[in-house]
Subunit: 347 residues, 4 copies
């Protein structure tokens, strides 16, 4: 059994991770730490765990648990992990960081977008961006995984085959993304007070959301040139789910079927990518509770634009599920183990 711990286990992502790890046949979840709930039993904080997991939340001590555990997951606000993680820790255990600190290759880009100092520039090269479908081989031997953001996972997976194949104009990409409210986390905030977001939709952080450089970095690698995008997130009155509607102009006229072949080939052996049939588009309800990413598209022949739609469960493929997928890869376990739940509907 692999011994695992979670630092920051009482946010929504930490909680989903706890849920998945407790149900994983090869994992012994030894430790759940929390900043806010030290000394409380886990099932008092999240009553879904009643009579299932009542582990006491402990104060974080990464130095100590690095000696004892095979893998440590970090689910923390940005700016903390880059202080905590050291080469010494990475010699002793595997780190899967669900925060943003190690996702961007460039310290400067990080500091610009996150408006905070980065404390471990030396580790940026060592960190592997944990988008499993695109980085599988590197992940297998990584010590430090930067688990991708929720919007980014859905955006990159939806567009990757296009950038790789070079059929779209580089400067034409617009991503209009929509997220359920759990993406905002459990910290109290007027914007996610029930009555403030229920029965309404809004765009937010226009032209300034921090997932933008992360998407650009990975699309640029795929395209082998610098890609700049427009990214607009929206808050949707629902608990879970991300829908990405992405727009790109085709360099030349191409038929649906040809593009479909590109997608099919690109994702040929990917269990967690499900391509929809022609004229069927992903909806968040069909992936809820699962690690799947559904992708579909159409060609707007009148404008020669491609419209790609992607959907994920933001807390699973967009966070905790992908983290476990990364863990499986690192430890040589079948990538799907613990992640084969069929989406739950209606939920």
């Amino acid at each position: 059994m692999i011994k695992a711990g979670i630092i920051g286990s009482t946010g929504y992502v930490g909680q989903e991770l706890t849920r998945i790890l407790l149900q994983h046949p090869d994992i012994n979840l030894v430790q759940t730490t929390s900043h806010s709930y030290i000394g409380q039993n886990y099932d008092q904080i999240y009553e879904n765990f009643r009579e299932i997991y009542s582990g006491e939340c402990q104060e974080e001590n990464i130095e100590k648990i690095a000696d004892e555990l095979d893998v440590i997951f970090l689910a923390l606000p940005h700016g903390i992990a880059s202080k905590k993680i050291t080469p010494k820790i990475l010699e002793k255990t595997k780190i899967i960081d669900l925060g943003a600190d190690f996702r961007l290759n460039s310290k400067e880009t990080y500091e610009n977008w996150y408006n905070t100092e980065h404390f471990s520039e030396n580790l940026l090269k060592e960190a592997v961006y944990g988008l499993c479908e695109l980085k599988r081989n590197k992940i297998k031997t990584a010590n430090l995984i930067a688990n991708p953001g929720c919007y980014t996972t859905c955006s990159i997976l939806s567009l990757a085959p296009l950038l790789k194949s070079g059929i779209i104009k580089d400067d034409s990409i617009i991503i209009d993304a929509k997220s359920g409210v759990s993406g905002a986390g459990r910290a109290l905030n007027l914007g996610v007070h029930y009555n403030e977001c229920n029965e309404s939709i809004k765009a937010y952080k226009l032209a300034s959301h921090r997932h933008t450089p992360e998407i650009e970095q990975e699309l640029s690698i795929l395209a082998n040139k610098d890609i700049t995008i427009t990214f607009t997130p929206h808050l949707v009155p629902m608990n879970r789910g991300i829908l990405v509607t992405a727009y790109a102009t085709l360099k030349e006229k191409i038929k649906y079927e040809e593009i479909s072949s590109i997608y099919k080939k690109f994702y040929e052996n990917e269990y967690f990518i499900r391509l929809t049939q022609k004229e069927i588009y992903p909806e968040t309800r069909w992936v809820k509770g699962s690690n799947f990413c559904d992708i579909g598209f159409t060609v707007d022949e009148r404008t020669n634009r491609l419209i790609v739609v992607g959907a994920i469960d933001n807390l699973i493929k967009g966070a905790a599920g992908q983290a476990v997928q990364n863990m499986n890869l690192i430890f040589g376990i079948d990538e799907k183990v613990g992640l084969t739940t069929i989406p739950i509907f209606p939920a």
Copy 2:
């Protein structure tokens, strides 16, 4: 592997059952039939099954599949099963009926409340009421299971220890129940058109809901005398979940702790029953996606009434999950197999 089939697989209950059975390690789901979708692939009807289960929906032929299958689940509107099920079929296979036709022991009561003829009075004695926690031994040897209703499961489990112990006045029981919309099924109906039930709550079928006699029958058995109750269902704008708030007057003053002991003893070894701590009450979110029934209560000392709160996922413990729990019992499988999913939150 046990060979299973579902007749009526494309309603919400049938779909949840399909989902659970496909994930059950001991089951081979051979057949899914449907009245409305004959010839269509299952994942076209429910896209959560994309690339997971694309079995073609077939026309129902219970005579034929009774020869081939070990167990057949029926998820049909009331009044159909009592025509279809015959002693001959029951010689060949196990039947778990998720509808209402075999739940009431009395043909007369059935016909009064359901306002339709019952066609198999002779089978009413053979049918076992499949409330697993209360009828485990009978279920193990049954050929025909009448799987309980959703409101009834939650109501009976919440009140059973009280009736058994005799501490409440017989004529004092009021059950005020609240259900998510999936309880109304997938058939189109103005009452569950999105805008007609979203952002509103209503009581319906006051003093006339068909789950009433079912609750009374089972509470009467527990109390060993005739019990009549008042039952009021409400429609709540959410997908899943049932909350029961039940009221009963105590015969004498009893302390919380004493009643708590009664509950603990009654449900001592029941995995799927989770009793809450004092001053903690069940909420539907904590059982969503699981087969648990959470129960808590308080004593209103000013009025000497007991207020009991119970919560289940209506599609799982209230339907498909309990049906699988019944199946496990019948086939000698550990009762929990396929049903240990930790509730999903926030969902």
Copy 3:
């Protein structure tokens, strides 16, 4: 024009009151004060008022504005108004308090249930309980109105004709109430964080909610004897609305039509009370955005219980609307002015 001010204008109740008063033809809303938003423009706090009302929120100074204004509304947490209001202020202006401080006639009952000191016992006799349909004449000459709570308004109006007529058993009343989330106000709180209450229902404050003694006080006055009730509030995932399902045992068998006559007579000339037809029951959607209270009922003949259902918009008839109805009465304006909006649907 009547000059009005609101102390505590930036909670949900204060905001709804602001909205109603701004649309009232006879009112000049001179002042909106706020504890949390001093110096901010109102339309920055509530953007629905964009280009309609941008008054700067001022620090509260009741002594000063009592000189200038004809009426002051208080929408404050309990325990504050009883400190602020003095006989001197009441000589200078009319006070309509939307909080709890002057609702209970007994200082002792207040202090027991609210667990805090009451600072103006002398004013309790002067205060008039502002349930307009029941206290109209007293309200007209009052200087200090205790505007009723939301649950209480709906509960008392639903049951009043029964208590007055004496057809139910005194000790048989159970009120199972359901509220939308706005009842909990705008203060941040984990319980009303979007993901914590969306898609779930719960009972809370069982046998201990502070609206209980308020309901009992008024029902006792109507019955002319002490009435004790069981009251259970529930939180429903919707923005607005209260539904009350009340149970009471009939002393004797009485037909629906006879009880219907009692209700019709009791509410004969009441514009804001709408009695439903037989077998039609109130739903919160039908009163949303209005000052109406819909009431319907049935007789459960099997148990000889009456089940009464009432529905209001908690922020209007349950708070701000009723406060304006009180104001209209005090100033001799037609009671309906500013309050005749037809309920908005679907909303």
Copy 4:
């Protein structure tokens, strides 16, 4: 008093129109017809009208009521009005058609996109496109108003100043629109069955929605050249509201303030257009229940794109409210009469 009638009064649009007209001081609502509910009282169909309006729904007879009424509103599925309206009717009464039949100037475009025959080509020239802010003068003398669609109203108003000023590239416009469920109407349909759309978001009718040519027609008039756009509608789990997020590339670099001036000047005297402050963006909750259209934008300097956000209440400014605004213009009433309700929040 102006005598008005509604043909098709029992859909959601018809109902909202009924509500607004009943509250309009200059209107006598004489007639409400319905195809599905002939002979039923209006408040039995929509119980929000209980004790307010119980007019019996009558069979439509436009010839007859054209003689009696000053104005007739049509709220019908497309393809019907073009059969019903004749020059003779237009001589006798004013027609405000809330359907699609007279919105497009070109019969051919209509027939292509709506896939049905148009029966009154001769009236297309006479019909005035009733987007009040853009066509006010023509509306005043019109006999036949084609009231704009919901998505179109919000899209055109959001983009009009840009097209007029010529600062954006003609072929760069992408409109990503999000609608509440009431836009789909009251007709039963699996897609808007509660559990099928609650807690999920989807894109639909990609590159094929019928509001596309309507938007293009009006933007082309403003730009004085042919404009082709990409338009993607989404279904959002909420009752009301449309949010438009529109993208366009700037021809040259322009500062926020300069574009802001263009918008301010364009909408200088428009009561129903509310421009948001810098870095504030419209949200549907702030316009709910009102006839306002809120508009805000930002410049994405990295890509030189403009991102414009617009929000309306789809049933009011997107349908019934704008129809009444048109009526006010035609009859020389102040444009705002009956339409000054402050948005209701939280609702």
